[in-house]
Symmetry: none
Subunit: 196 residues, 4 copies
Amino acid sequence: MPTGVSLRDADERLFGAAERVLLRDGPSGLTSRAVTDEAGVAKGVLHRHFADFDDFLAGLVHDRAARLDVPATALLALAGTGTVAGNLAVAVTEALGPVAMAMLALVTFRDELRHRLRETWPAGLPLIAEIVGMVRAYLLAEQELGRVAADADAGMLSPMLIGSVHLLLADRTGEPPVPDAVRALMEGVLASATRR
Amino acid sequence: MPTGVSLRDADERLFGAAERVLLRDGPSGLTSRAVTDEAGVAKGVLHRHFADFDDFLAGLVHDRAARLDVPATALLALAGTGTVAGNLAVAVTEALGPVAMAMLALVTFRDELRHRLRETWPAGLPLIAEIVGMVRAYLLAEQELGRVAADADAGMLSPMLIGSVHLLLADRTGEPPVPDAVRALMEGVLASATRR
Amino acid sequence: MPTGVSLRDADERLFGAAERVLLRDGPSGLTSRAVTDEAGVAKGVLHRHFADFDDFLAGLVHDRAARLDVPATALLALAGTGTVAGNLAVAVTEALGPVAMAMLALVTFRDELRHRLRETWPAGLPLIAEIVGMVRAYLLAEQELGRVAADADAGMLSPMLIGSVHLLLADRTGEPPVPDAVRALMEGVLASATRR
Amino acid sequence: MPTGVSLRDADERLFGAAERVLLRDGPSGLTSRAVTDEAGVAKGVLHRHFADFDDFLAGLVHDRAARLDVPATALLALAGTGTVAGNLAVAVTEALGPVAMAMLALVTFRDELRHRLRETWPAGLPLIAEIVGMVRAYLLAEQELGRVAADADAGMLSPMLIGSVHLLLADRTGEPPVPDAVRALMEGVLASATRR
DNA sequence: ACGTGCGGGACACCCCGTTAAT
DNA sequence: ATTAACGGGGTGTCCCGCACGT
């Protein structure tokens, strides 16, 4: 059965498997065995590509964070179209999907993982920092377009916005998420910011 | 040596021990063994007073949440004194202390615990809901006193405020918390809400 | 299923199980799991009573060696009865049974075990030293009775005798041992020693 | 690529590497990986030349045994020179060097290996049989020269002698071997055999 | 009712012998 | 011939829950 072929995309496969496990079993179900089993890969593969399990998790978070630039640029491209609240609601809901939420739970639960990420992370909570940045960039763009009040403080609005949505999503019970609630929240935040 | 003497305050002792463990070892260190060891109590004691470990954790969260009414009334009593942002900063920083943050990490990590709390909790995230309510009540009181803009939406401001602080505190690395940052955040939120 | 009762004879049960495993699967089959499974005992029991597996093995060898005093005194009691070669053949064959041989293989194979035993063992190979001592004591007793040549050097004959038998038994292939071969060897050795 | 590297050369390299590993790490350190790493060749090379690892080990023992004919003829050539005990001490000490002892530990520990060698080996323990034969031939030669008692039983003395030395060497703790002890043992055995 | 130790399972990490693809 | 994966196993550790004996 051994396939001597190098799994060039071993990282990708393992990351993908880990996300599926997170979706299916939640953060507490994400064990090294669950990952390799889900990936259909030998146990040793994970330890060949990563120093230990926490190292793998750190890589997973990094990978996920890096991939956030795609929705970030997509959101930026939407500046001027649709509605600000709507654009934000869709983008943030997607960025803070179940997988990302599970990863955040993982990071806040596993001290060792958090400390390891601390060493290589610029600042802020791993995934949250990226999403906050994404929102800030978008808000600034809309501000230039005049769709957000000129005196709104994007640097303050962004974490508030993400913090609110994060709490909203953390309250999920497995039921389908409610983008409408997110949109309403966005509108409320923006209303207070765009109020004359 | 078995004493046979009933630990009438077993719950209290276990809860206190659990909080000390959370402070010392973080959420991932909170195991049933750690709790009983810290409490200086036999392992079986926990199992005699609670159906299982998740049941104990649920009780712990409930206990902690119930005790939040003390700072809630204290905060309410401060209405009209000091500054709104200052009062909020102190109260929220204390309410979202390391122990509460660790409990939140626990709840978001342990699916079983979250589902169990779901059944007995009115609504929202266990501890967060109480804190949000506390803030809302205070904001309404200040609104009546005219120290918060009459058109501010306390129902929307409160979760935003707590969401922001939660993210800020979740980013901690063990260093002493920064109440100043919380106060600044409060001021920012309130400023946007009190703007004409 | 858990029986909270302390296994007072945990050591004995584990040692007995280890010997059965050695008989059935040979030295290479003696793993910690095999021992606990064979003993019908939880895995943790072994590690509760011994620091690690090598520590358990050292205890096993010690226990086995300590029990050799029974056949030693029994052999000594036979002095003057039967034939010298016959008495020796029976005693040595029994002392160097399959279990003892497997333990010797274990000791010579596992460097860590050998070094650990080295620290607590008076001198010589763990089990061999005891058996050699047993033979020497018996030969001296027979010498006093005049059934062994007065000028025979028991201190030299004993290791020679055990060395020969050890090699003979090490050559086993699983077939029933041949006490006759041992007896013949004994007679040869004694003949050379009792020759005038 | 036609490298011209002969198959037998690979065997030699692997065998040499295995012996170095045995010297350095003992019998328990002799794994297929350790061999190929030490030889500086790929893992697959071993399995290209041998059916499996036990097959390689069998080949190793065979190779080592076959090379024993050199010291055997050398010892035989010493008949009549020096002292009998001295000649034997040197030859046996060398033949039962650390590598040979480690191989014997390997054979007695690995049941599968022992059974495999059983099928292709004339009789007796793989290396021991050769060494015993070497001693016997030498003793017979000395007997013809009159330096060993005519009524000495070389067929019985040889295994006794090797058995004794084997035990003596098995007791090693890594310290430099003691040829003097071997020589004393030889003298003792021969004395008992040449006694009138 | 408490103190203690076991049951049983899981986990991380590691190593081994082996084989398929490059 | 080289490489890396593979499946299996082993060890030590933990954890939760439980049933004894005190």
